[in-house]
């Protein structure tokens, strides 16, 4: 009789312990964790508020004209963001144009072709490229990549493609092209890592079906690529987000001149470089405020770009996972 009562008592305490509200310790712990999690949301909100507040003088003064203004002359009080926006977008697009084919190649090789004992160590080596600090890429860019481009690559490009407006002008080794190439090396491990995950999430049945129909290896890979297309798009956009906000390496090789020139040999300037170079030297509230507004623009753009990328990558892993189960 007493044994049965004991059992009942233990069951009910066990049940109460399971329910989150039944235990004071649980309530405290859960609310503490929730507080810290909400702190993350708070940090993002605080970032927007702090940046917007400090950018307000510039926003009031220039309005939307700030985005279209072509002149950046702090001494005369002229602040236009267009040269920085152009430099940021152009260098990032050059980076993507170079790194996307490479990243796809690397991901395809590691997922579809290399045997396990090759894919693991080689995959790690490619990931190590992402571990190299930005300032180290910059140092290498100044003293190794820029002289190499000046001596061999840029004269060749000028010779072959000099009739277009894109490969003209003084060859210095530093400029938009160099910035784009450094960025390409930096985002390749990031894009290829995400594409690897996406390709690995495509169910094996897709490959087997393609091969069973007589497809060659490459034709089979194309099926896999089509299956993972949204995820690959997400990976590319993720790389774009990274390239847009990259600071040190670009600052050290892009030449830092706020001009819009079609030639990739000419010096350019990105939003992040402008902040890095001029923030501590900015004299006057309006100058500082204009730089903070540049930061706000960069924050909003990368936030949106990253958000889109995450949604794309999540969807594809979920979607192909579902297809796999259905098959």
């Amino acid at each position: 009789m007493s044994a049965v009562t004991d059992k009942l008592v233990t069951t009910s305490t066990w049940r109460r312990a399971l329910s989150p509200t039944g235990n004071t310790g649980d309530a405290v712990f859960r609310s503490l964790m929730l507080f810290v999690a909400l702190l993350m949301v708070g940090i993002v909100v605080a970032m927007v508020i702090a940046l917007a507040t400090d950018a307000m003088p510039s926003i009031r003064q220039f309005g939307f004209g700030f985005l279209k203004g072509q002149a950046w002359n702090p001494i005369k009080g002229e602040f236009g963001a267009l040269p920085f926006i152009y430099g940021t977008v152009a260098s990032s697009l050059i980076a993507l144009a170079i790194s996307v084919p490479f990243s796809l190649g690397i991901a395809i090789f590691l997922v579809e072709q290399a045997p396990h004992y090759v894919a693991r160590p080689v995959g790690f080596l490619v990931e190590l490229l992402a571990a190299i600090p930005s300032v180290v890429y910059g140092l290498w860019g100044i003293f190794v990549l820029a002289p190499f481009l000046r001596q061999y690559i840029q004269p060749m490009l000028a010779h072959l493609l000099g009739w277009t407006p894109f490969f003209r002008g003084t060859i210095t080794g530093l400029g938009l092209l160099t910035g784009g190439i450094i960025l390409a090396i930096m985002v390749t491990p990031i894009i290829s890592a995400v594409v690897r995950d996406v390709l690995a999430a495509v169910p094996g049945s897709q490959r087997e079906a393609a091969l069973a129909l007589g497809a060659t290896k490459w034709e089979m890979i194309r099926v896999v690529l089509v299956n993972g297309a949204p995820g690959i798009a997400g990976a590319v956009i993720l790389g774009l987000g990274r390239a847009l906000g990259e600071t040190m390496a670009v600052t050290m090789v892009i030449g830092n001149r706020a001009e819009i020139s079609p030639s990739l040999f000419d010096p350019s300037y990105t939003i992040a470089s402008a902040i890095a170079n001029e923030f501590t030297e900015a004299t006057g509230d309006l100058y500082l405020s204009a730089l903070v507004e540049l930061g706000l623009i960069l924050f909003l753009v990368t936030f949106i770009v990253n958000g889109i990328a995450r949604v794309l990558v999540w969807n594809v892993t979920r979607r192909t996972g579902g297809v796999g189960r259905a098959a």
Binding site: V28, A131, P133, W218
Partner: protein
Amino acid sequence: MAASFTNVDRIRRANSAFITTLTALCTLMAVGALVIIIGHIAWQGIGSLNWQFLIDRPRPVGEGGGIGNAIVGSLVLLLISSVFGLPLGICVGIYLSEIGRGRLGGAVRFIVDTLTGIPSIVTGVFVYAIIVVPTKHFSALAGGVALALIMIPIVARTTEEMLKLVPHSLREGALALGAPQWRVILGVVVPAAAPGIATGAMLAIARVSGETAPLLFTAFGSRFFPESLNQPIASLTVQIYNYAISPFDEWHAQAWAATLVLMTLVLGINIIVRFLTRKRF
């Protein structure tokens, strides 16, 4: 007819072989880039590296000098950022894995993910606005907080992934023994995932030890050994940057040597972590 089929077939096979070779080539070039960069750093850096260089502080051009204060400064900054960043990051990870289910959990995960992508220079501007402006001076504390903000989302996501690897039977077993959820999480789940969480923390430390942009106008830099957390402080990365863009060959050589020290730290952590996790998974 039959002949044209085999022809098409041959082209398809040749095409396939060509492209698969091309992908191997892409991979080879990426690994080649890594080898070239690291090799060049080792070759350039080893020349200026000696004991005096590691313990001395910077001197004017022509008088030698070293990076001792920058090494100490970087370690202080890493310590400050770890004190703030690791506990907060681990708590967010616990929330995401164990508590935050449903819509709010998803929203927090999304915010944490996008926080990872915020350019570090913007984090620097933010910390400048909330710490440097009110206290009216650059400080080690501001630099550490900026690095912590970069650390938190990285630690949070790795902690979450590690906690999710802990089998459910462990949680159920502990709950069945009558432990409340907080005891289950802190006493069973987190210790089971501790090695994984620790490696995630090490990777986050490696990542922020290479950051330069957020330190430019928070920690700022200094040519002396640190004395207080309320003063500007030197760091390896900012030192490398300043020397790299200087016009002096001697400082360029010192930048390479400092880079060798930084890369040994960063790549060392990455390789050790890889070695440790290889056995477990």
